[in-house]
């Protein structure tokens, strides 16, 4: 239907519709662009205010300053390692369990499925879990980033429903060729699961990259185990609560040298950028994965 042939109310509707969409886009993007502009602007100039989405006096000095701060580099390294390792482990474990639970003839299938499903409705709570970590000597250790979150039951069910949709004949023919169950999983099922594995991998990677609370709760006394989100959290909280800044001489020095706002914004960009670069490419996968997981459960 062409514009001229539309009724007045239809045209009005379209006008409101496009206005609302453009408003959404602006409101969503402005904070990011604003932060980017401030992080690239000369810090003394920033204090004058009025920076919106374009830096007034372009400089990379803020970034040079934060990369000299050792906590940030340690945090960056730990965040990258936990994201890569956590994603790899998470995808393999969830897909392996999903495969086993998809095999209807498996003896313990009902029992195991029930054990996994039940955990979606309750948890021990913060303190018993904290005590467990303590008793397992996971406090002050890098393992606390990987082991407690080894497997997500939600991901298991997403992958399992995907496997259930695959033609069973493929598994059957591999079995006739003499493959054992592990070989079937590794050589037949896993390669066919690529789209759902991409979704799950993205979810796990985002979760790992964005996680800060485990660092705060379990590893905050050990500086070598810090993560990028935790470093950002410290910097943001310290501006709200200046007493914290005094406790961290390294950071306080940097804050004295450059305006804290530019620093905060530069760190925010460093923390955000990796995710923003990756996610648009995986969008088509996760939209499918989300739908699969939520509509059918």
């Amino acid at each position: 239907m062409t514009w001229a042939r539309k009724s007045l109310s239809d045209r009005l509707f379209d006008l409101v519709l496009y206005a609302a969409m453009i408003f959404t886009v602006v409101v969503t993007l402005y904070p990011f662009l604003n932060v980017l502009a401030i992080s690239l602007n000369d810090s003394t100039d920033t204090v004058r205010g009025g920076i919106h989405i374009w830096p007034r006096e372009f400089t990379l000095k803020n970034y040079e300053t934060i990369f000299q701060y050792s906590g940030l580099m340690t945090g960056f390294r730990n965040s990258v390692i936990r994201t890569l390792a956590g994603t790899l482990i998470g995808v393999i474990s969830a897909s392996m369990v999903a495969y086993v639970l998809s095999r209807e003839e498996f003896q313990a299938r009902r029992l195991f499925s029930m054990l996994f499903a039940l955990t979606m409705y309750f948890s021990g709570g913060l303190i018993p879990v904290y005590m467990l970590m303590r008793d397992l000597s996971l406090l002050n250790s890098f393992w606390v980033y990987l082991i407690p979150g080894l497997l997500s039951v939600w991901n298991v069910f997403i992958i399992r429903s995907y496997i259930n949709g695959l033609p069973y004949a493929l598994q059957e023919s591999a079995k006739i060729d003499g493959a054992n169950d592990f070989t079937i999983y590794w050589r037949v099922v896993l390669p066919l699961c690529q789209p759902v594995l991409a979704t799950v991998a993205l979810f796990i990677a985002v979760g790992q990259w964005n996680s800060w609370f485990d660092t705060y709760l379990y590893n905050s006394s050990n500086e070598s185990l810090t993560t990028l989100q935790y470093e950002l959290m410290k910097v943001l909280q310290s501006t709200q609560n200046n007493a914290d800044a005094a406790r961290n001489p390294n950071m306080a020095q940097n804050i004295a040298a450059v305006s804290p706002e530019s620093i905060r914004m530069a760190i925010t960009i460093v923390v955000t950028l990796p995710i923003l670069l990756v996610y648009p490419f995986l969008q088509k996968y996760f939209v499918k994965g989300m739908t699969l997981g939520a509509v059918k459960s």
Binding site: F13, V35, G124, G125, L126, L236, Q240, V271, L276
Partner: protein, 320 residues
């Protein structure tokens, strides 16, 4: 939670072999090797902490095992219900959950309805990609952005309100307790609206196009089609999500409140989980903190069962 999927193109007979329990187990040894380690992991990390609930009925002293503690019955719960602070944090929790529930359901549905009316594929895709974006950044980053946008020194919100003449002087949003609930709700809306609309868009895509064609023939306009076809079409999805989130009313977590809150607004920002964290771990009162956790779980379960009961009565179906 059993997914309702059908097998692929060729319906083949499943292997049904005879043999005793141990024989089957031997034949399925690879399946056991692949799953038993994870079941052990599950028991350790999800079921063992349930034992920790016993702590709530004890006066926990560090250094002793859970069986050597002094039992105090319901004393921790009595103390909890006698604490005025507890009712304050409960009020905050419920206020923020209910606000979050209302906004978290209406706004994504409206957004999905609008998206569904967009015709240009490129424009639609671009809006979608941008609207999902905030979902992928952490709450730490969002809290930073929110603080920046609301700041009195060049924050976008204050600048805008000033230039529109709504206010005469910048408002210190982050320092005023009465603003805190709205700030949390609005931040959540900013972060998750696009993401939460995916599921409704998917449900809308699944509606039979013939229904719309028939309605057009009958002379229905845009709004009538939305009201009589699209909205009823997403009702099942909506109900399932609503019941699931009612269960989480009390356990809203504390990430946002922790990151956006500050000492000035603590009477509005402290929620049940944060209270448990501050008392339980901050002050090493493990038994008391655990009692709070149990209270949370019990209320959640009651809420889910109630919501499911109502749904069952209305539709003769069950979700759990």
């Amino acid at each position: 939670m059993e997914p309702l999927t059908t097998r692929g193109a060729l319906p083949m007979e499943k292997p049904r072999r005879s043999g005793g329990f141990w024989q089957t187990m031997g034949r399925q040894k690879y399946l056991y090797f692949m799953s038993v380690p994870f079941v052990i992991w599950l028991i350790v990390f999800s079921y063992v902490p349930i034992w920790g609930w016993l702590m709530a009925f004890q006066k926990f002293r560090p250094g002793r095992s859970i069986f050597e503690q002094n039992w105090v019955g319901l004393a921790n719960f009595a103390e909890l219900f006698a604490d005025e602070r507890f009712y304050l944090v409960l009020r905050n929790t419920l206020a923020m959950s209910v606000m979050g529930l209302v906004v978290g359901f209406t706004v994504p549905i409206i957004f999905a309805l609008l998206m569904n009316e967009l015709k240009g594929q490129f424009f639609k895709r671009s809006v979608q990609t941008i609207s999902y974006l905030p979902h992928f950044v952490s709450w730490v980053v969002v809290a930073g952005l929110v603080t920046k946008m609301l700041s009195t020194e060049g924050g976008a919100v204050n600048s805008l309100l000033l230039s529109l003449g709504v206010i005469d002087a910048p408002v210190q949003f982050m320092a005023k307790g009465e603003w805190f609930w709205s700030i949390v709700t609005a931040s959540d809306m900013w972060k998750e609206t696009g993401w939460n609309s995916i599921i409704y868009l998917a449900a809308m895509a699944g509606i039979d196009p013939e229904l719309y064609e028939a309605a057009t023939v009958d002379g229905a306009g845009r709004f009538r089609k939305i009201w009589h076809i699209t909205l009823p079409g997403i009702r099942p999805t909506f109900m399932v999500l609503l019941i699931l989130s009612i269960g989480h009313l009390v356990s809203i977590g504390f990430e946002k409140q922790f990151l956006l809150g500050n000492p000035l607004v603590i009477d509005y920002s402290e929620v049940v989980d944060l209270y448990a964290l501050n008392y339980g771990i901050g002050l090493s009162r493990y038994s008391y903190g655990t009692a709070i956790g149990i209270f949370n779980s019990v209320v959640s379960i009651v809420l889910v069962l109630t919501a499911n009961g109502i749904y069952k009565r209305l539709t003769k179906e069950s979700i759990i």
